[in-house]
Amino acid sequence: AQSVSQHNHHVILSEAASLELGCNYSYGGTVNLFWYVQYPGQHLQLLLKYFSGDPLVKGIKGFEAEFIKSKFSFNLRKPSVQWSDTAEYFCAVNAGGTASKLTFGTGTRLQVTL
């Protein structure tokens, strides 16, 4: 069965700092990859996704992620974070073509300070 690891559980950054959140998955076949974000008091929202093609994908609010197949990784990046980026970020994978069956990481809580 596939699994997803998010190594950073809690990250604290100052505004304008650069962000990189790690995500590694274990599955040898074709995967679809996602990052979801949950802002305080709000529901889970899709940040970006990768299905195929260019391994560097851009999402909303200036976020991007790079799929590196050889490393089984899909790290999330943002060059300059804002206080409003304070949220919990979840990496997720679906494998084997079952779109509904996402395997989620345990999440990374990002706290951006002014």
Binding site: N32, F34, Y36, L46, F51, A92, A99, S100, L102, F104
Partner: protein, 115 residues
């Protein structure tokens, strides 16, 4: 994108009781999905609710504990039966969206606390 409404948004329940969570979608969808997010853990798929047939449960989840109804293409319920404190979680309803119906969209969730 579809709007997913869940009720209740939160509740505090006594051990041994049951609670039914409702999920309403503003468009017709073939499948609806129920996830659980336990405190400090990731989301886990409980079951898939199909209209006109029985729900399909994932390993570790059974119908007696989590009965699901799907009376039409816009509505589903999940019941958490005979609750214990270990059932304290956020329960989320979701549907597939996107051009290829390959992206999950989630409701706001129902936060259950079992005392």
């Amino acid at each position: 994108s579809a709007v997913i409404s869940q009720k209740p948004s939160r509740d505090i329940c006594q051990r041994g009781t049951s609670l039914t969570i409702q999920c309403q979608v503003d468009s017709q969808v073939t499948m609806m999905f129920w996830y659980r997010q336990q405190p400090g853990q990731s989301l886990t798929l409980i079951a898939t609710a199909n209209q006109g047939s029985e729900a399909t449960y994932e390993s570790g989840f059974v119908i007696d504990k989590f009965p699901i109804s799907r009376p039409n293409l816009t509505f589903s319920t999940l019941t958490v039966s005979n609750m214990s404190p270990e059932d304290s979680s956020i329960y989320l309803c979701s549907v597939l969206q996107g051009a290829g119906a390959n992206v999950l969209t989630f409701g706001a969730g129902s936060r259950l606390t079992v005392l």
